[in-house]
């Protein structure tokens, strides 16, 4: 077990290194001038060619690619991600301000979608064909088809414009005004959790149905165990692995959704930052943002893989 965890951590580190190489190369090999990492496009246009060459030399862009990569990575490891010219501050400082906002919304959405997903899926699985199933299953099929940002706009129309229950947009730290912060969180969290919730519900339902067909479940029933015990100890416990996989896949969904949700609700988080970086062609900020998000996703995959053996003792490495 310990050997497996060590091996798995080692793999995760390799993936992180490869992602960093990929991001590094994509900025150097694509048509855009890598100098644009350090200066804006309009600045680049106003400089003379000699000045540009001088800048390239100063930034080390005239070295061979592997050397450039090591320069960059050695700074990244020391948490020096350079400057963002759009926000006029250090990228690391910016990330420290933006990441907690995204995590605040994301973690709440992640937990609620996981818990509710299992509950809904189990309910519709064990009560297959009843009204509960007939409500939950079509809704979860519909939910995976809805565009996240559109759902946000529809919610704004009803909850904010028509009924005036909730503030339209914005983000307040829970430490400054907890009540306002919570009210502002309701819609973003609902929108963000919609897709993972529906995916988990669908998976939980089908794994429940799959596990309920097994022989040991029939044995459990015939032993005269109560319904509660059969469902929680026999069916649910045996169908958890695919459910956990889908819950784990919710992490990238939530990060991707965050880009859209933060745009719709005007929340100053990582997603909004990525869009600003793209719009102003702030390549340094963009690559740093993608790198940080990917590292978080890789870590979450690691946790999911390790948790398999904890959930299911049959899983041996």
């Amino acid at each position: 077990m310990a050997a497996y965890i060590v091996r798995r951590i080692f793999q995760a580190i390799i993936v992180c290194v490869l992602v960093s190489i990929l991001i590094f190369l994509s900025l150097r090999l694509l048509p855009a001038d890598p100098l644009l990492i350090y200066i804006t496009k309009s600045d680049a246009a106003s400089y003379s060619p000699e000045m540009l060459d001088k800048l390239r030399h100063e930034m080390g862009l005239d070295k061979v690619l592997p050397l450039q990569y090591f320069d960059w990575v050695s700074k990244v490891v020391r948490l020096d991600l350079g400057n963002s010219f759009t926000f006029k501050q250090k990228v690391t400082e910016l990330l420290l301000k933006r990441l907690p906002v995204s995590l605040h919304i994301g973690i709440i959405a992640f937990i609620i979608s996981g818990v509710l997903g299992i509950i809904f899926g189990v309910l519709s699985g064990i009560r297959r064909g009843t009204w509960i199933d007939n409500v939950i299953t079509p809704l979860s099929n519909l939910g995976v088809a809805l565009p996240t940002f559109w759902l946000g706009i529809v919610l704004i129309y009803f909850f904010a414009f028509k009924w005036g229950w909730l503030p339209t947009y914005g983000y307040t730290s829970p430490f400054t005004d907890f009540w306002l912060s919570t009210k502002q969180l309701v819609m973003p969290v609902l929108v963000l959790m919609a897709l993972p919730l529906c995916l988990v519900t669908r998976q939980a339902r089908s794994s429940m149905l799959e596990a309920a067909r097994q022989d040991y479940v029939r044995t459990a029933w015939s032993k005269g165990l109560s319904e509660k015990v059969v469902i929680t100890r026999h069916i649910l416990k045996n169908s958890l692995i695919p459910i956990i996989t889908v819950i784990g896949m919710g992490v990238p969904h939530i990060f991707a959704g965050e880009v859209l949700v933060e745009m719709v609700f005007n929340i100053p988080g990582m997603g909004r930052m990525l869009i600003d970086a793209i719009m102003s062609l702030d390549y340094n900020l963009l690559q740093s943002g993608v790198l940080v998000i990917t590292i978080v996703v890789v870590l979450s995959n690691l946790i999911v893989d390790i948790s398999y053996s904890w959930v299911d003792p049959r899983v041996r490495y």
Binding site: V144, I156, L260
Partner: protein, 298 residues
């Protein structure tokens, strides 16, 4: 000799294959939701093809006299802030959406299948290198990878298709590789090899057709994802450039008028949801129809 030994099994697999297809079609069309999805997709493809015949208005031409009209008989969904008919733009948007979805899917499937086939079949160092690369691509959330690539390539229809195609390649490579690994050690592959069939022939004639069912399911299910991703990119504003009608961009440009004219933002979203729902239901139906474990159950 080799030719003769092959001719017999191929002929018999053909007849099995055609009865197989008939069985799958039968099971598929027995499922209500799958049929609904199929009809939705069929209708939308027809709408995309015959868009000019269905729309009395030009989807691009600005008509400043008729700005922001409320829904009426002549404009069932009203007009937007430049006087263009919303329904016409949604109908033309079908073309954009389907073109991006099918184009990106084509790139992702071909590239992914090739990578997966080669990695799985040859194994060893090729497998390790290819699959590490695929793992890397997979660990970046799909939409964020597509955003990143689109920002690198710049907007426009072609670049969006390429960006989305690359971001989905890893899924097909992973799927294909798994299929090949499971199939490679089967007796019939060993038999083919002992008959002297080339690697290329085994891969294309024997492994690829056997991996086709799960691939087909994945393609159908991912077409919906693709449409959602395209809509997201054009909503953010780095996808299809205006004035080309794209559903995501329409939702965004209708947003300032949400209070007075919600239909501008809400109608294109309904169109997106409808297509994605259609593809998902067809995909689910195919998956159940093609799943050997469910044979006889359905």
């Amino acid at each position: 000799m080799a030719v003769k030994a092959e001719a017999v099994p191929i002929k018999s697999t053909r007849t099995i294959a055609s009865s197989e297809v008939r069985y799958v079609v039968k099971v598929f069309f027995k499922r209500k939701l799958a049929v609904i999805g199929f009809v939705i997709i069929l209708l939308l493809v027809l709408v995309a093809i015959f868009a000019p015949l269905l729309t009395p208005y030009d989807p691009i031409k600005v008509d400043s006299k008729n700005r922001l009209l409320q829904p009426s008989w002549s404009h069932p969904l009203g007009t937007d802030n430049t006087g263009r008919d919303t329904l016409s733009r949604i109908i033309y948007g079908t073309r954009t959406s389907l073109a991006v979805a099918f184009g990106a899917m084509g790139i992702a499937t071909i590239a992914g299948v090739l990578i997966g086939l080669i990695a799985g079949y040859f194994g060893g160092i090729i497998y390790i290198v290819f699959m590490r690369f695929i793992d890397t691509l997979m660990s970046i959330p799909m939409l964020i990878l597509a955003l990143f690539l689109a920002a690198m390539f710049g907007g426009g229809l072609k670049n969006i298709i390429i960006a989305l195609g690359i971001s989905l390649t890893s899924i097909y490579a992973r799927l294909m590789c798994g299929q090949v690994l499971a199939m490679k050690e089967n007796d019939y592959i060993l038999a083919m090899r002992s008959l002297g069939a080339s690697d290329l022939r085994i891969m294309l004639r024997h492994i690829l057709p056997n991996a086709f069912p799960p691939l087909l399911v994945m393609v159908t299910l991912q077409l919906g994802t693709m449409i959602l991703a395209e809509a997201a990119l054009s909503y953010i504003g780095i996808g299809i450039q205006p004035p080309t009608p794209a559903w995501g961009a329409m939702i965004n440009s209708g947003y300032p008028y949400l209070f007075t004219q919600p239909v501008l933002s809400i109608a294109p979203g309904v169109a997106i949801a409808l297509v994605v729902f259609g593809f998902n239901m067809v995909g689910d139906g195919l998956r159940d129809a093609l799943d050997p474990k469910l044979r006889g159950v359905l």
